[in-house]
Structure formats: structure tokens, C-alpha cells
Symmetry: C2
Subunit: 339 residues, 2 copies
């Protein structure tokens, strides 16, 4: 802003600069505030702060030019919780319940029958075909705008079974602070998730401060249609791209076109993103969120479906990835614990 | 920058503000410099300047908030020339000539035989199969990094048959000024091209000031591979997505997730991008570059292959799209004319 030499901006800068000159003078005697107050002191927090400090230290050996400051974050289990099932699956199940009256045949058709019985253990065993049927019934055959309207309505009304709170309140306070600290230091923060692109975009900006163009996710095939004088983008019941595992490295290259210097994940689905980000000479940081807190959140790393974390955890030491121990590294898990 | 309340930034703002205070005083008496000096005065230039002025006028009826200031530009024929054939095709032909010694069979195999004869008229008649064979032989089977290295070497050595200049000098000076003017007013400028994503990214930042993450293009299927300790992204000989026609609207939604408020193109391949951008209540601007200058560039809008512009031109009046008449609206075509 201050480098934009228009009369108006210079005037504004002069005003702002003068207004905060006393504040800046004060700041000289005050210590800098802790950018990660919800992180306990320790090697994890120190490693993060040191990487960012070195990345912005001009002339230093690990300096990263601003355009290269790309940070990518998995979403489920890394920025918000993912138990007892992925929150987007809860959305799909709720959609089935809402649409059931118009589909009497679902009382006998799988996977709808099982979903309508509400038998959670049975739900965990639904196969791949069930996923596609569910996608077609709950995520397709409408415009992107209409779909996002449904997601918004769901986020405003649905409540998590364990915490009895809206799903978008089950986000990790320490990760919000990390996102903000990276952005304050010139990093561009991206979500790279196996979850649905249009689903995440409905709340990512308000919840994480991540705009739609910085969300990468799984997609269905979409189609442009001009209906009369109204152009629309329709979601079709067909999987386009699954942004998971090696797909995350592929999507990062396709959408961003730069290798990130910071990547954070929590499962083996993030393994290749961590490898793509860190396995090179340039300075880079790999972070794994390890779910170790059964009391405040969940403790898991080897379930059948969600959050399988074995290979990435095994490679962490040799690759120099930093592993967050939720139980000991995080003072609080969710923002509402601070209220 | 000036709104970032850190000691260092405020100090910097204060310095900058004070340094340019005299300059700003001067500016009060001086008229603002023309942001589009290579555009002749007239309705086209006036329409562009007026749209941008209204988009940034807070409180005005056509004000556009900064995050919504998305401008999308086609590349071939809109930002640089595309005759006598798309420049990326010239790259492919040159690659075939360079690789021919290792492929004696190409002396009899099409499309390689025709390419090696250099018969341009015959080249124009190569069909879709030829395109796929050419893609496989010249654009695939290597890492993205290696491919971009080839493109860089080609741009540094190849010369356009008519102008005997590097291809990246055949860019439109008036469009460079338009891109800069939009960015100076808070617009995020994107390329949305039927051309290859990795091809365009090799020169878009240096040539147009458009970073890799703001380039949308056609793609081949890519694959992540960990070769020993080296992660790579390999380009496979298989078309993934063709970013043309309705595909442009689809890709804009998928990659950006916002509808642009400004779109510029030059062929019917840009029709749906123009419709998606402008057919709504919100303020928006559609621009068509009409190639009308056979002396300084080329005059065409209805060829068999390149730059077919009929339907978009027909819809322009009813849709309120602004049509650039190259011959009368542009003082110069290429930057080198100014030297």
C-alpha cells in the first residue's frame, strides 16, 4: 500500500503512520506478543516459530521469497475434527433423512436404508458403491450455488453428536493461530483436502480466513449450462478428481504450480503432499497432527477408515517432519474452550 | 501494509509517507498519467476506464469489493498473437524436428512426416488423432520441470516466421497496459486459456506479471512418483481437461470459485466465459479483441481453425460486450514498436 505512489494512498499512509507512531514507540519497550498462545512451549512450537522466523530473515540461508511462501493444509483431522465420521458424511446422511419423504423406495434400498436406521456401526461398513449412490443422491443434480446453499443451511442447524455444537465450531484453535501467523509473515495459506471442494468453500473463508481460490479439494464433474438468460454450473453425479494421497501432490502442482514450503496433515492421505513439499534442498517444513487426546478430542492413528496414520508417522523422523502431540502440545483444542 | 500494526511496518510507512509527501503535493497540480497510453481515445478506451473507475468508487452503485475483483483473460489472440498457427503448435513442430534424428520412423509416419516436410498448408489439415500423437511425442513422458525447461529453451531460441522475433515479444502492448491498470486497482488477473497450463506458466509471470497460481489452461494427466529420494510430477500422454468453450466457465468455477467481473477473449472459445462473467445483475465487463489489422498484425474472425469469432461477435451488442477494433483502437500492437 505504502509503495503505491498515488496521492490518496500516500495521504492515507501518512495519516496511519502518524497515528500509530506513538504506538510503535511503545512497542519498542514491550515484548512481541506470542503468535501461538494456544501452543505449549516445547520443541514443536519452537520448530514452527524458528522455521517462520528463518523464512522471512532476508539474507539468511533459509530465507524464502514471498511468492514462494506457499503453505498447504489438509482439512479433516488437521484444521477441524473428523470423528466419529467425516463431517461431510454427516451432511450427506442428514440430506438423506431430509429427502427421504420424497423417496419411499429408500426404506429398502441401500445405502439409504442403513442411513435411515441411523445405525452408525453399519454406516462405517458401507462400501464404495454406497459412496457413489450417496454422492448422486445428496451432492449432485443441482447448481454449485444451490449445493452451497444446502451446506450453509446444514452448518447453521446441524450439531455434532458428541459436543452438541455446530460442526464449524469443532476447529482447532492452535491451527487457527498457525494459519494467522503464517499469513502475517507473507505466507499464502491453502487447504488441500480429500473433502469436497464446494463443501469446504462454503465455510473456509469465514472459518479459516481462506478464500475460495485457495481451496483445493475433491470434485465432481460439472457442466456449464445457459438456461434462458441464466448461466449456471451444474454438479453431475460423477466423480471428477479425488484429492487424496498422490492426488494431493498432483493437484497442488496443477492449481498452484509451485511446490509448497510448508505442509500440514494428519493421515497417510497426506504422505505424498508432505514428501512433495519437503524432499528437496530448499527450506521446507512438514507438520503432522497426531490425535493423542482421547479426553479433549480423540486418540487414534490406525482406524479402518478415517485418519489412518502409519506410513507418514514412520517416515517422520527420517524426513524431519514435526509431529504434533495434541495432548501435550496444545493448551486448548477448540475456540469455545476459551470462552 | 500500512494497516499492519507492527513496529517495523509503521516505521517503514512513516518513512515512505514522509519521503513522498512532496511528490504527492506536486501531484495535486499535475493531471493523473494516462494508464492506457497505447489505446486511442474513443468509446472502447472510455468504457474500460469508466468500468474500472466505478468498480473502485466506494459507495457507488457499481462498486466491486476487492476480493470480487477477478479479471480473466484468454491468451492466444487476446494477450499475444496466434497466427499463422498457435505458438504452442510451433513449439511442438520444433520439438518434432529436434527429436527426428532419434525417430527415423517419423520419415513415413504421420503427422510427423508432414511436420518434417514443413508444408504449413498441410499442417493446417492435420486432424485430432495427429494432435494426440503430437502431444504424446512432444508434451509427455517427462516431468513438469523438464517440460518447462524445454519450453524455456524454445522461447529463448525460436523466432516467429513473419516478425523474426522471439514469440514472447509478440504480446499486445495495449493489453499489458490493461492488465497493469486492473492490478493497480485491486483486480486479480488470471489467464484462462485453451493452451497448455505448463506451457503458459513458463513465461506468464515474466511476460504478463501473472503468477503460476493465476494461470488456468488445458492439462494432460499427471502422476506423482517418488523416484528414490526424488519426488516428481510426470506428464502422461493423455488429455486431462480441455479448457475451451464451456470448459472455461467450468474451470473458472473450479479453480477460482468466484465469478469474474471482467473477462476478455477473442474467439467463440471464449463465449461461455464472457456469458458466465457478464450475464447477471452485478456489474461486469466483457471485452472482445477483434483482429482487424492485416497490416500490423492479422485480420480474421472466420478461419477454419484458429480464432473463429462469429457467435460471440453476434451476441456482443445484446450482451453489452465491448469489441476492440485493433486497427482503430490500438496505437501500437507490440512493445517492440515503441523502441
Amino acid at each position: 500500500m505504502c509503495l503505491d505512489f498515488t496521492r490518496r494512498t500516500v495521504a492515507a499512509c501518512l495519516f496511519v503512520a502518524l497515528s500509530f507512531a506513538p504506538l510503535s514507540a511503545l512497542a519498542q519497550s514491550d515484548p512481541q506478543p506470542d503468535p501461538l498462545p494456544s501452543w505449549n512451549e516445547g520443541t514443536t512450537k519452537a520448530a514452527i516459530l524458528n522455521f517462520v522466523a528463518e523464512a522471512v530473515r532476508e539474507g539468511g540461508p533459509d530465507f524464502v521469497p514471498v511468492p514462494e511462501r506457499i503453505a498447504t493444509f489438509d482439512n479433516d483431522g488437521t484444521l477441524w475434527s473428523e470423528q466419529p465420521v467425516y463431517f461431510q458424511a454427516e451432511f450427506a446422511f442428514d440430506r438423506v433423512r431430509a429427502l427421504a419423504p420424497q423417496h419411499p423406495e429408500w426404506a429398502t434400498e441401500e445405502p439409504f436404508r442403513t442411513i435411515l436406521t441411523g445405525d452408525r456401526s453399519a454406516l462405517a461398513n458401507l462400501g464404495g458403491d454406497a459412496f457413489v449412490d450417496l454422492l448422486a443422491a445428496t451432492h449432485a443434480g443441482m447448481t454449485v450455488a444451490d449445493f452451497q446453499g444446502e451446506v450453509r443451511r446444514w452448518l447453521a442447524t446441524a450439531r455434532h453428536p458428541r459436543f452438541d455444537r455446530p460442526y464449524d465450531e469443532l476447529i482447532y484453535q492452535p491451527m487457527l493461530e498457525l494459519l494467522a501467523h503464517l499469513r502475517a509473515n507473507g505466507f499464502k495459506t491453502y487447504i488441500v483436502s480429500g473433502g469436497g471442494l464446494d463443501f469446504i468453500r462454503t465455510y473456509a473463508e469465514a472459518t479459516y480466513g481462506i478464500p475460495p481460490e485457495q481451496v483445493i479439494g475433491s470434485t465432481v464433474v460439472t457442466e456449464f449450462r445457459l438456461e434462458g438468460e441464466t448461466p449456471t454450473i451444474i454438479r453431475l453425479p460423477q466423480v471428477d478428481f479425488v484429492d487424496d494421497g498422490p492426488g494431493k501432490a498432483v493437484a497442488i502442482q496443477r492449481v498452484i504450480g509451485r511446490r509448497p514450503v510448508f505442509a500440514a496433515g494428519n493421515s497417510d492421505g497426506d504422505l505424498q503432499m508432505l514428501q512433495w513439499t519437503t524432499m528437496r534442498a530448499a527450506p521446507a517444513f512438514g507438520l503432522i497432527v497426531h490425535h493423542t487426546d482421547a479426553v479433549r478430542e480423540w486418540a487414534y492413528d490406525n482406524p479402518s477408515v478415517i485418519g489412518h496414520l502409519q506410513e507418514a508417522l514412520k517416515q517422520a523422523p527420517e524426513r524431519g517432519w514435526t509431529v504434533v502431540d495434541m495432548k501435550t502440545d496444545w493448551k486448548v483444542i477448540y475456540p469455545f474452550e476459551m470462552k
